[in-house]
């Protein structure tokens, strides 16, 4: 029997928390991070008798915005359904969701690979629904209170979610990761979600099956609890291997829900329920149909920002950046804005690109801050870059000034003062005096050079280094080099 090969077929369901101020169907705040349990609650999101849903217009707008960026068709006449099931985190015992008529469907997104290629992933649908509350198994101080109890916090219950379902177009764990990265970038660009997987604002479930080269298809498994990109990638790799092995051994694959155990690095079948799910969907009678007014979709389309891939293309064509640099700079909208502000303030596009990618990102990393809180503004950076370009200060000095501006949050002028950097620096007779001094203190090196033994020019470079060090970078290295050469001739 020839060697069998296995092809994974993966589709992802992604829940994105929309960044509205209030919940999907009530006016409770959505800001629940660090808030005491059951603070953002009201009769509606607690499912008290008599309470009714009232739809948040912003959630609709955000949903449509995300769908447009995903090239979806918007359904202008839709409705909400009730999805009925009992669980402690679901206050009404039904979730208001969209079912047969999602607000958007039939879209796609192009994802670029690390190798520079690109592939298209189909979007089946995007629909709006409310989030569930949160189950907690320990008290606020971390204590586990009794092994036989759980606790419910409804702060999250009712927060708007956009569920984005992909076609089963994904062929590997790496592709899945790229796709999620792309979606996360997109929702952040659009400002419709913070897309933070750790906080749970972006949650991924994966459907995966494998197809054997002999034509056999395995059943699909749904994997839950993928709360980081790494978990997603590892879980899929594990699952591909597991399913392929089973198929290779001629086994059937059980259609089931599996849970990713990040510690053990395995997926496990969840305990099967005592009965199959029967959600008894029916149209939500408390809500009339959702009809988008004429012109609404166009209005939302007009609010779409330049999308990351469009921005990248433009950076390449307008600023002549290479693909890698353009990608890095366009990854986050705020970073791209910073870069462009820098260019607009007069910095050359290439120089600005170098500075932002190396120095700015480094400082962001070191200080663990976002570009929006960056202590050096783009105009100041542009000025600094201009000084280097005009040979007014050296690159080394500029770096020192930049670090000082970032660390001490001071202006360019103040930073230069602190670093003792002056425009122009040491040159002419001052520089000559300094070099003579250095040569006198290093007569042995000078002798070696003069005797013609410095064939590779190493010794001369050593002297040049001493000069630059002595000048603390405040001299034009080209002037220093030619002066040094001249003085060595003497």
């Amino acid at each position: 029997m020839a060697d069998l090969t296995f092809k994974p077929v993966i589709g992802l369901e992604i829940h994105v928390q929309l960044a509205t101020k209030s919940k999907l169907f009530c006016s409770c705040s959505t800001d629940y991070i660090g808030v005491a349990p059951n603070t953002n609650v009201c009769p509606a999101c607690l499912g008290l008798p008599g309470s009714l849903p009232a739809l948040n217009a912003k959630a609709v707008e955000y949903g449509v915005k995300a769908a447009l960026a995903l090239n979806c068709t918007i359904n202008t006449a839709t409705r909400f359904h009730r999805k009925n099931y009992f669980y402690a985190d679901l206050p009404k015992a039904y979730q208001i969701s969209q079912y047969d008529l999602p607000i958007a469907e039939k879209g796609y997104v192009d994802v670029s690979t690390e190798e520079g290629g690109s592939y298209r992933i189909g979007i089946t649908r995007l629909h709006l629904e409310e989030d569930a509350g949160k189950l907690v198994h320990e008290a606020s101080d971390g204590r586990l209170v009794g092994a036989d109890q759980s606790f419910v916090d409804y702060n999250r219950g009712g927060i708007p979610l956009a569920e984005i379902v992909s076609e089963p177009d994904i062929r590997s764990a790496a592709e899945a990761k790229e796709y999620v990265t792309r979606l996360r970038q997109l929702v952040r660009y659009l400002g419709v979600s913070d897309g933070d997987m750790e906080k749970g604002s972006l949650r991924v479930d994966a459907n995966i099956s494998v197809k054997c080269s002999d034509g056999r298809w395995g059943n699909r498994a749904e994997i839950k609890n993928l709360n980081s990109l790494r978990a997603l990638e590892r879980a899929l790799e594990y699952e591909i291997k597991r399913q392929s092995q089973l198929l290779a051994e001629g086994e059937e694959i059980t259609q089931e829900t599996r849970h990713w155990d990040d510690v053990e690095g395995v997926t496990r079948a969840t305990r099967s329920k005592e009965e199959a799910h029967d959600y008894r969907y029916f149209p939500e009678p408390d809500l009339p149909p959702l009809i988008l007014p004429e012109g609404y979709v166009e209005k939302v389309r007009n609010t779409l920002p330049e999308l990351p891939w469009q921005k990248m293309e433009r950076f390449m064509s307008s600023y002549e950046l290479n693909e890698t640099d353009a990608m890095i700079l366009s990854e986050h909208m705020a970073l791209a804005d910073f870069y462009e502000a820098c260019v607009e303030a007069g910095a050359s596009p290439l120089r600005a690109s170098n500075w932002v990618r190396t120095e700015v990102l480094r400082v962001m990393n070191e200080q663990k801050i976002d570009i929006t809180e960056f202590p050096v503004d783009a105009a100041a950076l542009a000025q600094l870059i201009a000084k280097v370009d005009d040979n007014k200060i050296s690159t080394t000095a500029a770096r020192e000034v930049f670090d000082t501006m970032a660390a001490k949050k001071v202006s360019l002028e103040e930073a230069m003062k602190i670093c003792g950097v002056e425009e122009g620096g040491i040159s002419g007779s001052d520089l000559e005096k300094m070099i003579r001094n250095i040569l006198e203190n290093n007569t042995d090196v000078v002798e070696t050079i003069k005797s013609g033994q410095d064939k590779k020019g190493k010794k001369q470079k050593f002297l040049q280094g001493l000069i630059m060090k002595e000048a603390r970078g405040q001299t034009d290295p080209r002037e220093a080099a030619s002066l040094l050469a001249k003085l060595l001739e003497e």
Binding site: S22, A57, G146, D148, Q149
Partner: protein, 97 residues
């Protein structure tokens, strides 16, 4: 469509209602009668009728995205049948999903 005792047990499970065997038996006949009665609807000619016409005049109202504190928190927690600190307490749930 005949209704079986198993059907009744099944819907009771779906509806999360504990039901005794006596109740299943007692409910059975009632269920049969009701369903037989309901089946009369099949006599109607419903060809071409849209069950869920989406009409513009019944459009959903839009709520402005503004966070408002309902200030019911204390009252609600005070009514909780099982409360622990600021949580609603339930029997231990082993996470399955």
């Amino acid at each position: 469509m005949a209704v079986s005792a198993d059907d009744i047990r099944h819907v009771a499970a779906l509806a999360r209602l504990e039901i005794t065997e006596d109740e299943v038996q007692a409910m059975h006949q009632h269920f049969e009668e009701i369903m037989t009665y309901f089946n009369r609807l099949n006599e109607l000619d419903l060809e071409g009728i849209d069950a869920f016409a989406l009409k513009v005049e019944e459009n959903i109202p839009w709520r402005e995205d503004r966070a408002i504190d309902s200030s019911v928190r204390e009252d609600v927690l005070a009514e909780a049948p099982h409360r622990y600190e600021d949580f609603f307490r339930v029997p231990r749930i082993v996470e399955e999903e």
